[in-house]
Symmetry: none
């Protein structure tokens, strides 16, 4: 994915060659490129999606820098296609089914999600904790699917959610799957946001942590993203030995004690290996 975004060497395809109109690939905030009404509608759609409690027309219009009437027309148009829904009583706007259905089209391409599903179930059964699958996207990871633990208290990583590379099990696992060079390159672009006292806040420490992860085959997030939350993760490789996804087990500190770390670590590592094999992938051979 995202081949156009970062690959400097793309094979030319048919047709008149595309030309980079705006200097860099910088995403202009709203105007100046693309179809205006579409851009605005997508802004509204994204905004609505980030408001679990529902969003009011006025606020949406204000945040998008639009006149209420314009925002209203676009929302009504989105509603017609079921991309958003309006609450009948309070008039608040929510994300609609069609947006979800369309969005999951993203998953159909990557059969990793489908293939991994039964393995994730098994990992949940064997560990008793929630199991997540995530992919790399720039300086973040994005959760694609989750199998929830049956415990009352359980970790939540809703599909579509994001996690930082430097402060998540899946993030460190994905980094550990890259070559040292690519990993350090990505690390150089990170902003080390602090989430807890234990959050890694400098490149050197992160690189050390990743080296250890690479050595033992799984990455550990020990309350680095949220207090009381521990997480063990391992990378899944494609046929080129590139990490395409990572799988993780996450649960409360109370249940994931020190003594269980090696056990669960080995579990997640071997399951990641199985998924890699099932997908037709292989672990990277060139160890650098």
């Amino acid at each position: 994915m995202e081949k156009n975004a970062n690959d400097p060497d793309q094979k030319p395809r048919r047709g008149r060659p595309a030309v980079d109109r705006n200097g860099a690939g910088i995403k202009s905030s709203d105007s100046d490129t693309g179809v205006r009404s579409l851009n605005r509608a997508l802004s509204l759609l994204e905004d609505v999606a980030t408001q679990p409690q529902g969003a009011a027309l006025g606020d949406l219009a204000h945040r998008a820098g639009l006149a209420p009437s314009t925002a209203h027309r676009l929302l009504k148009s989105l509603e017609l296609r079921r991309f958003v829904t309006q609450d009948a009583e309070r008039g608040l706007w929510f994300t609609g089914v069609q947006a979800f259905i369309t969005g999951t089209g993203f998953l159909r391409n990557r059969d990793v999600v489908t293939i991994a599903r039964p393995y994730m179930h098994r990992a949940m059964e064997e560990s008793g904790e929630s199991v997540n699958l995530a992919i790399l996207d720039g300086t973040e990871t994005i959760y694609l699917s989750q199998v929830e633990s049956r415990q009352m208290m359980r970790a939540l990583a809703p599909p579509g959610g994001r996690a930082p590379l430097h402060a998540s099990g899946v993030g460190k696992a994905l980094l550990s799957g890259l070559s040292q060079q690519s990993a350090e390159q990505r690390i150089a672009n990170l902003t080390f946001t602090r989430y807890s006292d234990k959050t890694i806040r400098e490149p050197a420490a992160l690189i050390a942590s990743i080296k250890q992860a690479k050595h033992q085959g799984y990455a550990v997030d020990d309350e680095e993203h949220a207090v009381g939350l521990r997480c063990l993760a391992a990378p899944i490789y494609n046929e080129f030995g590139e990490p395409v996804a990572a799988i993780s087990i996450s649960g409360p500190l109370a249940r994931i004690e020190d003594s269980r770390l090696p056990v669960l670590g080995d579990l997640i590592r071997s399951i990641a290996q199985e998924i890699t094999t099932a997908c037709g992938g292989k672990s990277p051979t060139g160890w650098n």
Copy 2:
């Protein structure tokens, strides 16, 4: 959801009242309502999402009834926001990350319970019997919500209550939604507690009953849990085709006669299907 579509009794909200401009709530195919460019872009987006192998510009334009140049402009605009991605080598279009992220906003708001509610009401009205929603939890099912019948004598399944997998309509419906392998695995762990003369007490009989349920699309509990109580149930699936919940109609033997079984069975099956769709789920494709 869809409160505006079928609920005849909506509370009026603030502002100028909405007026149904086009006679029925009929979704006009493409034009005549809404912002045109947005409609067209959403058509393209939906189309792209249904093409796991990627879609070519020409085909997309043709299917949407657009000039290639127009389709291209809209797609480029969607690409800018990462709602679609273009394969660098072959120029094919795929669903983008942002569509996925935005779409999952749908899950954060409205869960199965909320979405199912109006459908449960309808099922109650059409059947005259109590309607229940339950989820799978280990070797039991848990009732999440109920719409009570208006009859004097009616079945009660209070939210929070539990029912065994082998002796309840919802239990058997949930099992029928699993792959045969997972189902038999769970059945192996059951203790076949006896509730009535008709309670199924051995794995083979349960498997047979579930196979029939899978075949006809709904499960039947014929006084297997309580004497005089009959129950018809069907599974609700998530986006992975996994059964996440089941909906059931339950009432006294006196009212649910043999002749009504197929009728009510079809009712509950089709309503479960509707809820599945409304939740963004899909029936399992790979048959065991």
